[in-house]
Symmetry: C2
Subunit: 407 residues, 2 copies
């Protein structure tokens, strides 16, 4: 008899038929004698509809009230899921985030879990119930409704698995698991049986949209082993866990491609101390996330003082905002021209095995060179190498890299 936390996302509970499917799966585990905590998201479309209503009234609605509003989405699903379990003869009780004992800080719309008191869940499990828990939400110590922000339901599941010392945590989604590359681009991509937290983190931050980084970080911190698998079939998924010696034998675990980045280059920036700090402080103050930053000697126009070129990438929707921030600094800093482009792709290879294998980056560059693909920016970490390439050649590049490293 195992204690299992399962999480089902919005598409898995999109309508009452899907909710019944979820209930059937839960009932099968329950029939084996397992104890189940089922974390659910809002039915897909519900949250967007609530946001639309709020924005009809006010473009930037108050965040405390948005939390009160959006928390209703998951509350609806917990009740319907419990009812679907009853229909199958399975005793089930629903709990909101607050009722489940999930206490957060007071940062509305992106609250952090502070602690979980799972007594109520334990009691209900002991009485033989399946417990359905609203993902994405909690309450502050003084009873304010909060939500956890993007990826919040995954976080709820992983945090509950940690607090309950669950034997298993399953994240059900609409893909079979984590792949060596996006199968829509690389047909040869294979599903991974397992992956380390760090690799998963790099993939998450690289646009492989299986899970948000924060949930993986939380799992890593609390050593929660979890499985990413499909709610549409019974295939085993991908186990995410601490790296093992066995994992390190594989140099590259996967290839990812992020097409959602844009690049800005400041040509001929005066090479004075503090200039880069000034630029990225201004960008940060505008709440724009910067991903890659590369600085090199300029071959631009400033020739009397030393000058460098600085390039960085931001999420595509933030390009105009970033551009405006940079233009506002021209007077003060006095750089040359600014080149902004949206037609880039960020290609990355990830693998804990890289740490002990020299030459991975070299091989990557070589593969791209042989394909005639120019590299715009390079950035590396211990277990990752990322390159920016022309968007038009990005998928071709990805296939070549996947073939070289993973087939």
């Amino acid at each position: 008899m195992a204690l299992i936390v399962q999480k089902y996302g919005g598409t898995s509970v999109a309508n009452t038929e899907r909710i019944r499917n979820v209930a059937s799966r839960v009932a099968r585990y329950h029939a084996q004698g397992d104890q189940l905590v089922v974390v659910v998201s809002a039915m897909s479309g519900v949250t967007d509809n609530l946001i639309r209503l709020a924005k009809e009234i006010m473009p930037l609605p108050d965040e405390r009230e948005m939390d009160v509003l959006l928390a209703t989405g998951e509350q609806t699903t917990i009740a319907l899921t419990a009812i679907a379990l009853h229909k199958l003869g399975v005793p089930a009780v629903s709990l909101t985030g607050a009722q489940a004992g999930i206490v957060t800080d007071g940062v509305h719309t992106k609250a952090k879990i502070q602690n979980i008191t799972p007594k109520k869940i334990h009691d209900l499990l002991k009485q033989g119930n399946v417990v359905t828990v609203a993902g994405f939400q909690g309450q502050t110590i003084d009873g304010q409704v909060t939500t956890l922000g993007r990826g919040g339901s995954d976080l709820t599941a992983i945090a509950l698995a940690a607090a309950l010392k669950a034997d298993l945590c399953q994240i059900y989604t609409d893909v079979d698991g984590v792949y060596t590359a996006d199968p829509r681009i690389v047909p040869q991509a294979k599903k991974l049986d397992e992956i380390s937290y760090d690799e998963m983190l790099e993939l998450a931050s690289l646009g492989a949209k299986v899970m948000q980084s924060r949930s993986v970080e939380f799992a890593k911190k609390f050593k929660v082993i979890f499985e990413v698998r499909s709610s549409l079939n019974d295939n085993p998924g991908t186990i995410v866990k601490e790296e093992t010696r066995n994992m390190e034998a594989v140099v590259v675990r996967g290839v990812s491609l992020d097409k959602n980045q844009a690049k800005i280059t400041l040509v001929a920036v005066p090479d004075r101390p503090g200039i880069a700090a000034r630029i990225f402080k201004a960008i940060g103050e505008a709440n724009i996330n910067v991903d890659m930053i590369v600085q090199n000697i300029s071959h631009g126009t400033a020739d009397d003082v030393g000058a460098t070129d600085i390039s960085f990438t931001v999420d595509k929707p933030e390009l105009a905002k970033a551009r405006a921030v940079i233009d506002g600094l021209r007077q003060e800093i006095g750089f040359g021209k600014v080149i902004a482009t949206e037609t880039i792709g960020k290609l990355s290879i990830v693998g804990v095995g890289m740490k002990s294998h020299a030459g991975v980056a070299g091989k990557l560059f070589d593969v791209l060179a042989r394909e005639g693909i120019n590299i715009g920016m390079i950035s590396t970490s211990e277990i990752k190498v990322s390159v920016v390439v022309d968007l038009a050649k990005a998928e071709e590049a990805m296939k070549a890299v996947h073939a070289a490293f993973l087939v």
Copy 2:
């Protein structure tokens, strides 16, 4: 500066435009320096949609889970209403029933309010906020979500007005107040400036669908004076309060017509002690509400023993169920034939002045006789006389009675 509790029903908050209208009205009071607690229902259609989803899964869903499900409707409205107030520059904070300190018993889907701890509301009001409160809901002492059943939002408003010692309680609806008769049937009907709790109670139980009896009873018990008025205009409404000497000068306050009743007559029931008790115990056990009961000597078929005819009325949708219960008793009791009819109307005149005016019933019967309208059943209380007439003649009867007593 007054402390005012306002309640807006589902049609008053049916969409974001209506919610903005509600906010405008609240803002006007707030600008006068009043303190406001705004109780809202679910947007019209939302509750029905949630019920539909639940019933798609299971025809008779668990009541605890229905409460978790339905409570989301009002929670959505409190947040949107608070946002609409922010849009007008009015500080506002939403509270669910639980957060507002509304503690109920554990009878899901029809919980009773046990007590209210309005500290949080008082604190928020003191800080200058309008407080939007979810109607229809509360929580048990151990944190279960409950709902109050039909008319629950009115009850929330009146109970909060009592707990907060509010200066004024306004129930906003889609009619201008309480009328001497339904204006759709009797064009001469006039809006009443005031009405006593007891009169309002009789009218409520007689099918004048302005408010549920339980809210009026609660108001009477806790001496909450409230006003029923329209959310669509600024006309003053009808004040509901304890009767005054002035009120008693008016013999008949209003005329009501309930077309939603059906009548069952058991002909030639053996006249033995305990028979009526047996019949109505069985009906009660089937959860069927009986309204009028009349018993008289039979001219039916049983002639060797003493026999009576027993007639009673039930809500029309329950007629078939009641009929089945009666048929099940035939063997045991041995009555003659059973006559069931849906084509009746129950016409009532109500007024606290009746207590001290003899002859009101006589005048009513006389009016009907002059119109050639036959009376099927009669039932009276201290401040009410009801008669059952043929449905086809019911509206004509109502007009005649209104003209005789109220013009």
